[in-house]
């Protein structure tokens, strides 16, 4: 939650700064910096939202059908927001821009597909599968999402031969919020 508030505050400050400048002053942030900011804001918002979903897996014995349905709803909403945010960014204006966009499009497709699988698993709970089957399916889907994220971040690093994206991520206030 703190991250969301902070990211929102950073975004709001950026808007205020852009809107309250003196006359013809333009924003000092380059399009690549803005892309990096948007990227990190989308990711941190998603992780904040999805945390409440994954925390339920710390104690499987307390998971109920209602709990699973709420978790699936939260995961779908958060992931739809993330995918919209990522797709809205388009390609960064860097040498590797198109490769980055391709990687992010692939990630978005995987996330959408796995969230749909989670929803199907939860909807089938009253049938033959039951909660243990749904948990197994949800675990597989979230693991696939994790692997997709890892592969995407690695692909971004690999494509960024000139280090332009790395510099933008380092300079971005929203990315600075992500601690090591």
């Amino acid at each position: 939650m703190t991250r969301t508030l902070l990211a929102t505050a950073v975004a709001a400050l950026a808007l205020v700064a852009a809107g309250c400048g003196g006359g013809d002053e333009s924003s000092s942030a380059s399009p690549t910096d803005e892309w990096a900011d948007g990227f990190c804001t989308a990711i941190t918002s998603w992780t904040d939202s999805i945390q409440s979903v994954t925390e339920q897996f710390s104690d499987l014995s307390s998971l109920s059908k209602d709990g699973l349905e709420n978790a699936a709803d939260d995961a779908r909403t958060a992931t739809e927001d993330l995918v919209d945010g990522l797709r809205g960014l388009g390609a960064p204006e860097t040498e590797s821009g198109e490769a980055v966009k391709d990687s992010i499009d692939e990630l978005s497709s995987t996330l959408e597909s796995e969230v749909a699988t989670i929803e199907d698993a939860v909807q089938g709970v009253s049938g033959l599968t039951g909660i243990p089957g749904a948990i197994s399916s949800i675990t597989s889907s979230l693991t696939a999402m994790s692997a997709a994220f890892s592969a995407t971040f690695q692909a971004l690093e690999d494509a960024d031969v000139e280090g332009e994206l790395q510099t933008a991520l380092e300079d971005s206030p929203a990315c600075a919020d992500i601690s090591s």
Partner: protein
């Protein structure tokens, strides 16, 4: 009688170049400082590209210290894969302690997953980390993977 230890070194590579990545070389150097003569050593990591050599092979080739036994796990494609391989080796060897060697920014998640994979055993897990700075992309990746950790830990604990 001395405790039996497994020193597990987690690999690192990118899609660029075929040589041992500096991050991986730093982990290897840390392991060389850590290892004792009667320890077993596990090098864990896959080949990111079909034409390149596995991280495990590159580490084994560059290894300069002496250990009781050296094991290679070329199948680990992720931290979950690393953790499952480490736990499998630890159970097979019956070690009392796993010394997990990785980067500082990766240690918290890697050790949590190894502990989950070793659930039910009495094997102690200790961390030996390097202190290089993570790239921002790596930090973001860690944030996402840390968020999903409870689920990944369930998976690691269920997989033997």
């Amino acid at each position: 009688m001395s405790e039996r230890r497994l020193v597990a070194v987690l690999g690192y590579s990118t899609g660029r170049g075929d040589a041992l990545h500096p991050v991986c070389a730093a982990r290897l150097a840390r392991a060389e400082n850590e290892v004792k003569l009667d320890d077993s050593v596990l090098f864990s990591g896959w080949a990111r590209r079909r034409t390149s050599r596995a991280e495990a092979d590159l580490m084994a080739q560059a290894w300069k210290a002496t250990a009781h036994r050296v094991i290679l796990d070329r199948s680990a494609r992720s931290t979950v894969g690393n953790a499952l391989g480490v736990a499998r080796a630890a159970r097979k060897l019956g070690v009392d302690e796993v010394v997990l060697v990785t980067s500082g920014w990766h240690g918290r998640r890697a050790s949590a997953l190894v502990r989950a994979a070793l659930l039910g055993s009495h094997t102690k897990v200790t961390l030996a980390t390097t202190d290089e700075r993570a790239t921002h992309a790596a930090r973001i990746r860690e944030l996402v993977c840390w968020t999903l950790l409870p689920v990944l830990a369930v998976l690691a604990a269920r997989t033997r």
